[in-house]
Assembly symmetry: C2
């Protein structure tokens, strides 16, 4: 039963109320409940475009979306809902149903960390009208931001190269409590650790940090500040010095003095950090000062409003760094702070036969039309193991695509309202997703990794998806509902 407590899934979900949704999900469900409207419906969650001008997304948040199935309603919340205008019948039902609210619901998700493309469902929800509708807002909230940050992080990792250590430093600029999931999804997308202590504890990673300018300012003299940072360090081989409080080059010479004192004591300076100025040229000058003084192995940390484009520029300008601190641009997803993910009804059941019936919504904007049916995404690889193309097929009708080598991306994780995912610690779940992302990004042909101007990855429709879509579109175009809307162009597999 979904009601079984799942601390592994809820460890990073501090708000656990069925109220965590838009009012209309409850208000309309109330009407459907009282009118006895109930059918089996299929909803799919997808984005019509990849963010930041790239070709791909890193799927994330699909597990978080499921936690709504574990939420409850308190007596006080129930009373308040009635005061707000819901019916006592429906609220009483929500209260008494408990986890039975989601009975009959089946959910398929793309695993976190997988590379996905526009129009591919990241989540497919099938079940009775009320629970599948109620899930909409929460699922979108969970998937949109997580996928966005994981994708942003993957782009930054791509720009920085595989060698650099990338640290998430964004809590102070993150959108309030989103700092937690931002740290998580930054790591899924390719970062190594976070400065966010709370997130590090939840996700089982070593929190990382350096030193703030105010600590240097606490001393009249920079050299004294550096020396004290060393002398007071518990682990004297992990000392980081911040060079740019006054003048970064002078700071580098002061760092050398302290590094020499440390070496006399049997310790090595771990790192220096530059947080402002022309990072490319400063980092090279600092490296040469350190190297000439006999400290070539001191790590150089760069930070300061870095995004993937600026990282690319740093690399091209020959910046010399070992570690990047990535904050504001990463956690706020500057450039595109929202993934335009949507949750659309793609099939219903025939009230008489119970048979699935594809649903299409046409639009004056062809890109906004939906794909009818319940879908599975089949991924095909070339003989060298690289991703070749994805086929959006019908589930189960196109199962033969799996037999011919297509890897199904969606897998069932909820059956009849019960979450099937095995218990995994938040840390294990994060590390699995991170591994998947790294593997998938290695199998994505290089041209699709470009930050800008990447070609569209081939995502095509199966013959059956195409036929269903065209027959429904023809039907709808002939109906009084249609006012000149078109279906978008798709390639067939």
């Amino acid at each position: 039963m979904a009601s079984v407590n799942r601390p592994d899934l809820l460890a990073d979900v501090p708000i656990r109320s069925l109220l965590a949704t838009d009012w209309y999900e409850l208000d309309i469900s109330d009407r459907n409940y009282r009118c006895g409207f109930n059918q089996r419906e299929t909803f799919e969650l997808f984005s019509r475009s990849a963010p930041f001008g790239g070709a791909y997304m890193i799927c994330a948040g699909t597990v978080r979306a499921l936690t709504y199935l574990l939420f409850t309603l308190t007596e006080e919340e129930a009373e308040w809902l009635v005061q707000c205008g819901l019916s006592e019948e429906f609220v009483g039902y929500l209260l008494s149903a408990g986890s039975d609210l989601f009975k009959g619901v089946d959910i398929w998700i793309v695993d976190e960390g997988r590379v996905v493309f526009p129009y591919e469902p990241l989540m497919r929800v099938q079940g009775p009208t009320i629970p599948v509708q109620m899930l909409e807002t929460y699922a979108l909230n969970a998937v949109n931001f997580s996928t966005l940050v994981a994708t942003k992080a993957a782009r930054m990792r791509y720009a920085a190269g595989e060698r650099a250590v990338l640290l998430e430093f964004g809590m102070r600029r993150a959108h309030d409590l989103s700092h937690l999931v931002a740290a998580r999804c930054a790591m899924i997308g390719g970062l190594d650790a976070s400065s966010n202590t709370y997130a590090s504890r939840i996700y089982g990673t070593q929190p990382r940090g350096s030193v703030m300018h105010s600590q240097i300012q606490r001393y009249d003299d920079e050299l004294e500040a550096f020396r004290t940072l060393y002398q007071c360090a518990l682990d004297k081989d992990r000392v980081t010095l911040l060079l740019d409080t006054y003048d970064a080059i002078q700071g580098a010479y002061n760092a050398v003095k302290v590094a020499e004192e440390m070496r006399r004591d049997g310790h090595e300076l771990y790192a220096v950090r530059l947080d402002s100025g022309d990072l490319a040229s400063l980092s090279r000058r600092v490296r040469s000062i350190l190297t000439e003084a006999g400290f070539p192995n001191v790590k150089i940390i760069l930070s300061g409003d870095l995004n993937e484009e600026r990282i690319e520029q740093l690399v091209q300008a020959g910046a010399d760094f070992d570690i990047l601190g990535l904050g504001t641009e990463l956690v706020t997803c500057a450039g595109q702070p929202a993934l335009p993910g949507v949750y659309k009804m793609t099939a219903t059941s025939d009230p008489n036969t119970g048979q699935a019936v594809g649903r299409i919504k046409l639009s004056n904007d062809p890109a906004k039309s939906t794909l009818p049916g319940a879908h599975q995404v089949y991924r095909f690889y070339s003989s060298d193991g690289m991703m070749q193309r994805d086929v959006i097929g019908l589930d189960p009708d196109d199962a033969d695509l799996a037999e011919s080598g297509g890897e199904p991306l969606l897998r069932q994780v909820v059956k009849d309202g019960e979450i099937l995912l095995p218990p995994l610690s938040p840390s294990e779940r994060l590390m699995e997703a991170k591994k998947r992302a790294a593997e998938d990004l290695r199998r994505l042909p290089k041209q699709y990794l470009a930050l800008k101007g990447a070609p569209k990855f081939p995502v095509v429709l199966s013959k059956r998806t195409m036929e269903l879509r065209e027959s429904l579109a023809r039907e709808l175009e002939a109906s009084p509902h249609c006012a000149g809307q078109q279906i978008p162009d798709w390639d067939e597999s």
Copy 2:
């Protein structure tokens, strides 16, 4: 004592751990603790620019920032901190200190809802080195996003005019759990209510919503869908119909049919919603269809990626609306998803005399220099009650500015670690902030409200602030720390 439980302050703060900060705040505090470094310091939180190209900000999140003083550490968290590399001495201190950790800390804040300008401290923290440093990350996280959203909302309210009802619809695109604070600060800045049910319950507002496209698609026929929405409504005078699932104009004619049926039953159709297409022209056509059919009072709701510029365009294009649904652009603060708020040390105490000593940080970028001293902001009004200029003075030295009519914006809310704020429900606190914002925006001369190209509001330095700053800058410029950095130009009061 700060340890007194403050459910009123914590109702919307589900993460309540001292770990909710950057690692370096703890790591460096550990060193200061073990080295016995302790002095009285002043930190100020401010933004060097107003967001979205505007002239002003709506202060928010300053109360939320204080909740860190109520946080604790569990035994398990303490153990984990030691595993991560903190000293047992320091962690033991954190664990045993409890609320005494913040003993000696005094905090002044600008009340939520006040109009503020670049460089003005929204928060001033004075106290011993360790607690004032530890507060940094959390305070910035709390203030940066809240102030950003409240400001975005105020801009949208300005564009929409005072008459329109503005609803926050953004939960599905908000950055994960930031949906809660986004709803709150949207209302502070000028919105009327939110679709976010959980937030509405916490903040005591009536949740609002309309109807989703999938509900219309559940019926073969739009008219049948509309009719059922009416028939199943609990409050039959609050029915909203969504017009654009198929064709908005056809939808309007169907809405008229249902409105006629409703009137025969003694009810009036409440509203219709348009969510796509050319909203300006569609809304006018829908209004004329409704009016000609005898339903001039039906409210028209417009939505669909609206931001302040698009609202302004709608108004200029003569769109006819009563209610706007504002989502993605508002809650993600698209355009500028981060307020560049910083938390800087502006004074320390002389180790021998205990006297406050202003601290200045010069920078190669003059805008990045800090203002030394502990400041108060004095606001002066013209005889007509409109804001004239703000003076950043020294506290308490410039107290005479208050006697000469300057309104002090910062007020002390924490004394010796104790939060002085009277208990107020989250709803009352929100409504007070909302009222302040509305009042302040009325007193801000019109030219500063412009969405783009607004002049800079006059914020000047008091004579004493100016003198302190110049004497410290001269001192620093003469020191080996300085490498050609400059102090920025400021006007004197």
